[in-house]
C-alpha cells in the first residue's frame, strides 16, 4: 500500500473493508440457507462463525497501518548496516548525492531565472535585440547607430524595430531638481514590446526622429509619486534637463524594463546622429510572424553587406573612435605621450585642425612609421586633421575590451554637449568631488554634476560582472572536480575491495605484499590515465562551444587543463593503494572468507 493511499484514502478503504466482510457473511448465510438451515437462523450462524467482526477489521487495518512504517524501518536498518560496514564508501555516495543535488538545484535556479521564466511582454519569443559588428574595430555584438536603425526600419525585416538609450536627466518639479533615470526611445521599442499606455498614447513615428523638443511618457509610479496622479499632466509639460517637454502618455505600472526608468522620452537630438559609426544605441525588435530568427539574420547580413559596399566608395576613409578632449586630459588620466606633443591652448577654434592618435591606431594605419605630420580624414572625409602626437592605448570601455584604435581631437575644435570630466588629486577624491560640484554649480546652477566615482570604483564596476561570472564558473568547476574525485574514488576503491579474496589467495600462495600492491595500483592507474586522456580530448573538442557561451572568458585555461588530470590521477592512486594495502595486510584466511 502506497503511503499516499494510506494518508488520503483511509475513509474509502474503511468502507471497502466493511463491504468486503459483509459480502462474506451474506454469502455464507445464503449457502447455509441452501443447505436447509432456516433463513433467520442462517444469518445468525454466519455472523457467529465469522467470529469477532470488529477485531478482524482491526487486524486488517493494522496491516495497512504498519506496512509503510515497517518497510521504511527495514530499509533504514539495512542502510545502517551497510553504512557501518563501509563508512567511507557510504559517505562518498552521500556526499556525491548532496553535491549533485545542490549543483542541479542552483543551476536550475539560475537557468529558470534567466532563461525559462518568460519576459513579461506578449509573445516574448519574437522579441530580439539586433546587434552590429565592426571588424576593423574588433567589435562583435556591438550597439547600433542611428543610420543602422534607419536601415533596419526601412528594410521591413522586422514587424517593428526601435533604438533606445538609458541615461540620467534632471527632472524639475515645483522648484526642486532631482536626477532621474530616463530612457530615450523611438516608437518602435514601445510597439515591439506591445505596451498599452494607461492613459494617452505612445510616441508616433514622426515623433521618433531626433528632435530638440522630444515628447515624454511617464511611468505610472512617477506620475503618482511626483505629480500626485494629476490627470491634467497629460497634454501638459514637465521640465527635463531645463527643457519644457509635453507629456503624451502614462505607462502602466505592470510595464517594467531594465534600468527602471521613470521617464521615457522620444529621441533627443545630440547632433551626431548621421555618422554610421557612432554606435551607442541599444536596439530592440519584434520578428515578423512566421519568420525565423535565422531568416531575419540572413536578411540583416545582406543589408550590412550592401551598406559596406557603399562605404567602400569613399576611399582612404579611416576608422577610429573619435573623442573630444581638453589639453589636460592625458595628464589627468596618466596616459603616456609616445611621440610629438599633446594639445595646448594654441589648438583653438580657428587654429589648424589637429589630432592625437593612440599607438593602436598608429600600429594599424601606419605600421609603426612615424605618423606625426600625416593628415587623416574623419567622418565624411571633408576635413583633414594633422596628427601632432601619439599616446599610449588605454581601455576606455571596460577591462574586457581590447584597446580600439582611437583619435583624440581638441575640445575647442569639436565641442560636444555631453561631458565626462576626469580630475586628478593628491588628496581625498571625495572632498575634491564636492569642490568640483560646487565650482560647476557656481557657473551654471542648472548643470548638475552627477555620478561622481573614483577610478577604483569605475574599475570595480567593470570588474564586478566578470568577477561574478568567474566565481560562478570556478565554483561549478570545483564542484565538478570534487564530484569526479568522489566518483572515481568510489568506483576504483570498490573494485579493489571486491578483489580482497583474490589478493588473499595470492598472499596465501606466497606473493610479496609490495608486488601485489604494485599490480593493483598499476591496473587502476592505466584505467585512470586512459580516462584522463579521453577527458582532455573531450575538453579540447568542447572548447569552441564554451568560447561562444562565455563572453570574454578564456575557455582554454592552460592552468586548469594541466592541473585537473594530475589531481584526478592522485585520487585514483589513493583509491587503489589504500584498499589494496588493507587487503594485502589482512590475514589470508580472513581474506579468503571475504565476500
Amino acid at each position: 500500500m502506497h503511503w499516499f493511499d494510506w494518508l488520503f484514502r483511509r475513509k474509502s478503504l474503511d468502507r471497502q473493508l466493511d463491504a468486503e466482510l459483509a459480502f462474506h457473511i451474506e454469502n455464507r448465510a445464503r449457502d447455509l440457507a441452501r443447505s436447509g438451515v432456516p433463513a433467520t437462523e442462517a444469518g445468525r450462524r454466519a455472523r457467529l462463525e465469522f467470529g469477532g467482526y470488529e477485531s478482524v477489521k482491526e487486524d486488517c487495518r493494522d496491516v495497512r497501518r504498519w506496512q509503510p512504517a515497517e518497510e521504511l524501518f527495514k530499509d533504514l536498518r539495512y542502510e545502517l548496516r551497510v553504512f557501518r560496514k563501509t563508512p567511507a564508501f557510504s559517505l562518498a555516495a552521500i556526499g556525491t548525492l548532496a553535491l549533485g543535488i545542490g549543483a542541479c538545484t542552483s543551476i536550475f535556479t539560475v537557468v529558470d531565472g534567466v532563461l525559462l521564466r518568460p519576459l513579461p511582454y506578449p509573445e516574448p519569443d519574437r522579441l530580439v535585440k539586433p546587434l552590429t559588428k565592426n571588424p576593423p574595430l574588433r567589435i562583435k555584438n556591438g550597439p547600433a547607430s542611428y543610420p543602422d536603425y534607419l536601415d533596419w526600419r526601412d528594410s521591413g525585416v522586422f514587424e517593428s524595430v526601435g533604438i533606445y538609450l538609458t541615461d540620467n536627466a534632471v527632472l524639475s518639479t515645483g522648484g526642486q531638481s532631482e536626477r532621474v533615470v530616463i530612457t530615450m526611445a523611438t516608437s518602435g521599442v514601445l510597439s515591439a514590446l506591445r505596451v498599452r499606455p494607461l492613459a494617452g498614447r505612445i510616441f508616433t513615428a514622426a515623433e521618433s526622429q531626433p528632435s530638440l523638443t522630444p515628447v515624454v511618457m511617464l511611468t505610472e509610479r512617477t506620475w503618482r509619486r511626483r505629480f500626485g496622479a494629476d490627470p491634467k499632466l497629460l497634454g501638459g509639460a514637465i521640465e527635463l534637463n531645463g527643457l519644457s517637454l509635453t507629456v503624451v502618455g502614462i505607462l502602466p505600472a505592470s510595464f517594467t524594463v531594465e534600468g527602471d526608468p521613470e521617464v521615457w522620452t522620444s529621441l533627443i537630438s545630440t547632433g551626431d546622429e548621421t555618422p554610421r559609426d557612432n554606435r551607442y544605441w541599444s536596439a530592440l525588435a519584434r520578428l515578423r510572424i512566421g519568420v525565423t530568427l535565422r531568416q531575419t539574420g540572413v536578411q540583416l547580413d545582406q543589408i550590412s553587406r550592401w551598406v559596406a559596399g557603399e562605404g567602400n566608395s569613399r576611399a582612404g576613409f579611416l576608422q577610429g573612435i573619435s573623442q573630444s578632449v581638453t589639453p589636460d586630459y592625458f595628464a589627468a588620466l596618466g596616459v603616456p605621450l609616445r611621440l610629438g606633443r599633446t594639445f595646448s591652448a594654441r589648438d583653438g577654434d580657428h587654429a589648424p585642425l589637429v589630432a592625437i592618435v593612440n599607438d593602436e591606431f598608429a600600429r594599424q594605419k601606419f605600421a609603426h612609421r612615424n605618423p606625426i605630420g600625416k593628415r587623416i580624414g574623419v567622418e565624411d572625409g571633408k576635413e583633414t586633421l594633422e596628427i601632432v602626437g601619439v599616446v599610449g592605448s588605454m581601455k576606455s570601455g571596460g577591462l574586457q575590451e581590447s584597446s580600439p584604435p582611437q583619435i583624440y581631437v581638441p575640445m575647442a575644435q569639436k565641442p560636444v554637449p555631453v561631458l565626462a570630466a576626469f580630475l586628478r588629486t593628491a588628496g581625498d577624491p571625495a572632498t575634491l568631488g564636492r569642490t568640483a560640484q560646487q565650482a560647476i554649480l557656481s557657473v551654471d546652477p542648472d548643470v548638475p554634476a552627477y555620478r561622481l566615482r573614483t577610478g577604483d570604483q569605475l574599475l570595480g564596476r567593470s570588474l564586478a560582472r566578470r568577477r561574478l561570472l568567474m566565481t560562478l564558473i570556478s565554483s561549478f568547476a570545483a564542484i565538478a572536480l570534487v564530484l569526479a574525485s568522489l566518483g572515481l574514488y568510489g568506483v576504483l576503491a570498490y573494485g579493489v575491495a571486491q578483489r580482497t579474496r583474490e589478493i588473499g589467495i595470492r598472499m596465501a600462495l606466497g606473493a610479496a605484499a609490495g608486488q601485489v600492491l604494485a599490480g593493483v595500483v598499476r591496473q587502476g592507474m592505466i584505467v585512470a590515465a586512459v580516462g584522463a586522456l579521453a577527458g582532455l580530448a573531450g575538453a579540447l573538442a568542447l572548447t569552441p562551444v564554451l568560447k561562444d557561451a562565455l563572453y570574454n572568458v578564456s575557455p582554454l585555461d592552460a592552468g586548469v587543463l594541466l592541473l585537473a588530470p594530475p589531481a584526478l590521477l592522485l585520487v585514483a592512486l589513493l583509491a587503489c593503494a589504500i584498499p589494496a594495502r588493507r587487503a594485502a595486510r589482512i590475514d589470508p584466511v580472513l581474506a579468503l572468507r571475504h565476500e
Binding site: 500500500m1 459480502f23 462474506h24 454469502n27 467470529g51
Partner: protein, 111 residues
C-alpha cells in the same frame, strides 16, 4: 480421518491463498470455500486470519484487488496474483516441498 479438522501450520496460509488466487480472479469468501473444498474439508480457514492475510499480501504487492460484480450480481472484491506474487508462490512452494521431503525422509528412516 476426513472428518477431523486440522489447523493450518504457521505461515502456510499465505502460500495457500497465493495458490488459490493463481487459478484466477476470486473473492475472499470463495477463497475460504475453495481451500476447504480442495483439502476435502481437512483444512479450515478462520475468517479472523484470512482477511488480515489477504490485506497483508495485497500491501506486499503480491495480490491486486479489484471491485466488480460477483456471480450473485453484487459487487465483490476480487483478488488476482501479481507478477511478484507468482514469483513468491514459486519460492514458497519450492521451500515447502524441500521441507516436506526432508521431514518425510526423517520419518521414513526412523520407522
Amino acid at each position: 480421518m476426513p472428518s477431523e479438522k486440522t489447523d493450518l501450520l504457521q505461515g502456510t496460509l499465505d502460500m495457500l491463498i497465493l495458490k488459490v488466487v493463481a487459478l484466477g480472479p476470486i473473492h475472499g469468501y470463495a477463497i475460504s470455500q475453495r481451500i476447504e473444498q480442495i483439502s476435502k474439508d481437512v483444512l479450515q480457514v478462520q475468517q479472523g486470519s484470512l482477511y488480515p492475510a489477504l490485506h497483508r499480501l495485497q500491501s506486499r504487492g503480491w495480490l491486486r484487488a479489484e471491485w466488480h460484480a460477483s456471480e450473485t450480481g453484487r459487487d465483490a472484491k476480487f483478488y488476482t496474483l501479481t507478477k511478484a506474487g507468482r514469483k513468491q508462490l514459486e519460492t514458497e512452494t519450492a521451500q515447502w516441498e524441500r521441507l516436506a521431503e526432508a521431514i518425510g525422509l526423517i520419518l521414513r528412516t526412523a520407522e
